[in-house]
Symmetry: C2
Subunit: 317 residues, 2 copies
């Protein structure tokens, strides 16, 4: 009997024979879990460069086989998904390229797409279909123990095939993400990078920034910041607790879209600053009223809980 977790029943037939997941952090380990839970692949091979992560994955029983060597991991795999930080995509692609099965689909889960396509494509043989993708899902936690099978449920996975990509490979990868519970959107890589700059990268940047500012203030102690964080600050610290390597690579590899969006943010912030300095209550009220409607849209689209304070309650913390 299926577990009532919203993922539904197992597939009758696996979509892939053997899936190789390279990198077993939050995303890779969640993929392993949902692959097994839904029967998306007949066999799951996991690889990671860290011996500690490999031991954890083995202990958790997340894969049929845990490989140290990437050549071993991808051998005979008809789907290979790179779940490593953005900066590692190119080198990993170069390393596995000679061992990829002809006809295999290669994909990734990176949060930027143009830079990854540029870094990965030159290494690949013509016998392999590269279909880049980005599941817009995650938590602030890292590592294989932090993953869970429903991470992608009702979230969006954005597939960004370069011009000329085999449409059948795109369709198979889309089916894979739908099998994992996600909705699929196909998008141009450059547009993806711009959309994610505003919905993810710049929000992370300003969260990291304000948490840094708070840590450096002379007139307010760190203990005060911590004690009185329930006024709003603590929400920012969740985002600013995300994996540092992953986020360093995102900013280094989506530089243009991030800087452009940040420029707009700064212009708007200057205007807001002037409203406060000039005591323009009407303009403040109008902005604060307008922003409410966006949240309503997010809740209606099923991308957020409507419970106040995300359903957090003092008694539960």
């Amino acid at each position: 009997m299926p577990v009532p977790d919203g993922l539904g029943a197992q597939l009758r037939e696996p979509l892939f024979d053997r899936i190789a997941l390279i990198g077993m952090g939050l995303i890779g380990s969640s993929l392993a879990r949902v692959c097994r839970r839904k029967g998306l692949a007949r066999e799951i091979i996991a690889a990671d460069s860290s011996a500690q992560v490999r031991a954890e994955v083995g202990g958790l029983g997340l894969a049929d086989q845990v490989a140290e060597k990437l050549a071993t991991a991808v051998e005979g795999a008809d789907l290979v998904i790179l779940c490593v930080p953005v900066g590692a995509m190119g080198p990993v692609a170069q390393e596995i390229a000679p061992y990829l099965l002809p006809g295999a689909i290669l994909s990734d889960v990176g949060s930027v797409k143009t830079a990854i396509i540029k870094a990965v494509t030159p290494h690949l043989p013509g016998t392999v279909d590269f279909v880049p993708a980005h599941p817009v899902a995650g938590t602030e936690q890292s590592g294989p123990a932090a993953g869970f099978a429903t991470l992608f449920l009702n979230r969006w996975s954005i597939v960004t095939p370069p011009a000329g990509t085999n449409p059948q490979a795109v369709a198979r990868l889309a089916s894979f993400w739908q099998g994992a519970g996600a909705n699929v959107e196909v998008m141009d890589a450059a547009h993806h990078d711009l959309v994610l700059a505003i919905t993810s990268h710049v929000p992370h940047l300003i969260a990291y920034n304000i948490v840094g500012t708070a840590a450096d203030l002379e007139q307010v102690t760190q203990l005060e910041v911590i004690k009185f964080s329930a006024g709003g600050f603590r929400d920012f610290t969740r985002i600013a607790a995300s994996d540092p390597v992953m986020w360093r690579d995102i900013f280094l590899n989506n530089k243009e879209a991030v800087l452009e969006t940040l420029g707009r943010f700064n212009e708007d912030l200057s205007a807001l600053q002037r409203m406060i300095r000039n005591g323009d209550g009407k303009a403040l009220f109008d902005l604060f009223t307008r922003t409410r409607t966006i949240r309503r849209g997010i809740i209606e689209q099923g991308q957020e809980t409507s419970a106040p304070d995300f359903g957090r309650r003092a008694g539960e913390t």
Copy 2:
């Protein structure tokens, strides 16, 4: 038998004979609920300028009496708490001043303290003790239906008595907040305004700002912003869905501390922008690592849940 909600048993003796709550939004209505739940006052009088809110409060049975006229509400009350937006504190204090019981304690729950002390104090007779306070607690929702009795549980209530305030009145108000489940900290009003600028006011400002920026981008549609918000943006929309009147008044009345803190935020953001432009991965990694420790402190101090993504799960949204 007490409800197992973390608030503990009712007091044997009420701390106050009659409490008048002026303004029955999220905070006022939560206070009414915890007053009754814990037996903090023998009688609860609620007042609100909106007929609709008064009807809601009556329907929810939150008070022993719902008053339209402020003079009626404060009559005979030995504790009066102003739960109105910051900008309304002065006018309300002026209106109730002639009717306050000699020996009564007057308090408030406003998120800025210096401006409120300046606006309220001139109207008060010498027979009344004014003890300003600020419970650092809330959600993005508004109105009497949004309140709940455990809102203040394990949160901090900051009491900011001006020099010369009757220490017995301060102690009684501290007991009241402790009875409501809160921890109490006594602080200078100016320092409070600086602490809250970084822990609450500027975070709200930049959340309002980025949600506004996202709404105005030409290259990214509003639907895209909504669909792909799970990458981080949606957390900001929660904060940017807070009550517009309340927040307009906060920024108009804590102008100096907000602009000063915002100046620091902007300096830090310029430095971060340069790190990205220069591709300085080491500096980015160092900042992103440092900010993780602050969240750990907030969780250890019981001001936040340690559950990933605040305990949100796709299946529950």
